[in-house]
Subunit: 346 residues, 2 copies
């Protein structure tokens, strides 16, 4: 009696449960008169349908699951935001699970999704082919984010890490005219980091073929960026430009240089990757590669929704990549440090 079910409504309204279901769902088959009566009773009793029961028979949950490695930082909040935005536009709900304590954890999280979601969006370094095979219910529509996996099994959406890094190096080399461009790379085992590094190499080979490339490794943290900056200064020979594989490292590097009295961008240019919100507020404002993470989330969900609507549509086997472009601010020296334009806060 504590919670009111469809039976209570039926009894109170003097009809069968079937009629209540029909009336409340707007399926035909009930007089306008009885429908009204049922509706009245339902609101009076404050009846709320039981989601689990409904989706058990309907085989629809109107919920999509998101498996993410971690909730941290701008990236993931932006991503979730994008997914959620698109989801609610479609009347879908979001079951998030940030499982990052290893494969066990991720597997468990994935399994509990069974029967609670209509589809999955997965962004996880651990999600290799065999992992997915054993833990993902055979027929659950899924789209992968930022995954090295290819193939017709699941659609994949990637950030154009390679292209973004390439474009940034081109900017530094061609438009700014620098030759001695160093990379503060990300961790070796990180897929994004690998691709960005490759983009750097390719662009260096293309635009300043006779200049040596110079790479110091970081870990995508501000601290590691700071250390990288110190390291380069200690080496006695500063590069003319530093391209950090993400913004946090760029900022760390910026701080290290500032502390040492090195002027940015006059002596050394510094650029990053990601365009996190902080980027435009540091001084000098950071030139970086903008990747519209919100859009990544959004298109992931759109793609998934398409899969849900047309289950056996042949999915384009090619992986989609989300373009990104460099946004020029002050830290690269390509423009005179102008006034920071005031933008409407988002």
């Amino acid at each position: 009696m504590t919670t009111v079910t469809i039976k209570d409504v039926a009894r109170e309204a003097g009809v069968s449960v079937a009629s209540v279901s029909r009336a409340l769902n707007g399926t035909g088959g009930v007089t306008a008169e009885t429908e009204k009566r049922i509706r009245d009773v339902a609101t009076r009793l404050r009846y709320i349908p039981h989601g689990a029961a409904r989706s058990l028979i309907t085989r629809r949950t109107h919920t999509i699951g998101a498996l993410l490695p971690d909730m941290y930082g701008e990236f993931f909040s932006e991503l979730i935001r994008g997914i959620d935005l698109a989801a609610r536009a479609r009347g879908l709900h979001l079951l998030v699970s940030s499982a990052h304590d290893g494969v066990e954890d991720a597997a468990a999280a994935l399994r509990t999704m069974r029967g609670r979601v209509d589809g999955m969006i997965i962004l996880s370094p651990r999600a290799d082919a065999s992992f997915l095979h054993t833990n993902l219910p055979e027929s659950l529509p899924t789209v992968l984010l930022n995954s090295p996996l290819r193939g017709p099994r699941y659609p994949v959406l990637n950030i154009d890490n390679h292209g973004g890094a390439y474009a940034m190096v081109r900017h530094l080399a061609v438009e700014c005219g620098y030759r001695d461009i160093a990379l503060v790379a990300g961790p070796h085992d990180n897929y994004d980091a690998q691709q960005r590094e490759e983009g750097y190499r390719a662009a260096m080979a293309a635009f300043v073929p006779d200049a040596a490339s110079r790479i110091v490794r970081g870990e995508f943290t501000e601290e590691s960026g700071y250390r990288a900056g110190c390291e380069m200064m200690a080496s006695g020979k500063l590069p003319r430009a530093v391209f950090a594989a993400n913004d946090m490292m760029a900022i760390g590097c910026l701080l290290a240089l500032r502390e040492a009295g090195v002027r940015v961008p006059e002596e050394v240019a510094v650029t990053g990757f990601d365009d996190i919100p902080i980027a435009r507020y540091v001084t000098p404002a950071l030139t970086t590669v903008q990747v519209r993470i919100v859009d990544l989330g959004r298109s992931a969900l759109e793609r998934l929704a398409a899969l849900l609507d047309a289950p056996d549509q042949a999915t384009p086997p090619e992986a989609d990549t989300l373009g990104c472009h460099v946004v020029v601010r002050d830290s690269c020296g390509a423009r005179s440090p102008g006034k920071t334009s005031t933008k409407k806060a988002r």
Copy 2:
């Protein structure tokens, strides 16, 4: 055949579904031998229990729902992060719904939670008493965040807006010695904004009783902070210190002053509220009121979990408030602009 159910496992293993359930759940009542056989079959068939079906009978979903007004900005991502952190520590999952397109929307979101969650965390300006009464299943454990609501019905967790604002003004008045302190307030209909404003007034009355208080209204956006800065300069008489009711407005104000060539903090001190990540990276680094949003989310979930474990425990009728404290950086002029300490990126 497309999805494998418990029946398939039972048939394949030559036992009843009951035994499969017992074996897989580790309830007693099966020989070690048959348990192993069942387990083997289950993994071979890649059986994954159906969540909805299970929770239909168990009346447990191991999921908690979060109703938030919007996913935007640092605040909400931090909040979710806090909730999620505590949730996964308890083996709970998270069903988020950011419903901000009005009451209709929020109501719909809340109703679809029925049967999918064991409890709710609600942070919504729209969630007044009657709204909750009509849309919240009678017996669903719920904790409210940052709500003006009081009473024994639901536990409430609040940020100590009043105390934080009070402390900041005290800092400006007592420790920095300023008397002419202006407030850039938040929107009138915002609960946080109201409390912060009240804290400002109270502190002004307490510490600089003979100084006039000065309030210009903003909307919690960077742009409105920028405008507030311009407005104050246009008035011809700049205050000695500006306390903005949130960081984004403080930053906007900072920019306006900087553009006009006003030196911060030498001529005008500027402080904010929230301690968003950006705050420590602007120059001068922003003195602000730190509120541990992650902790807010965490304790909300802890509280909810306690409710779940002991449903009829008398909930402390007093609303809990989460303390906050001022963190002194450069923008208030209380200390000599030091080196920005490099922190480990979170």
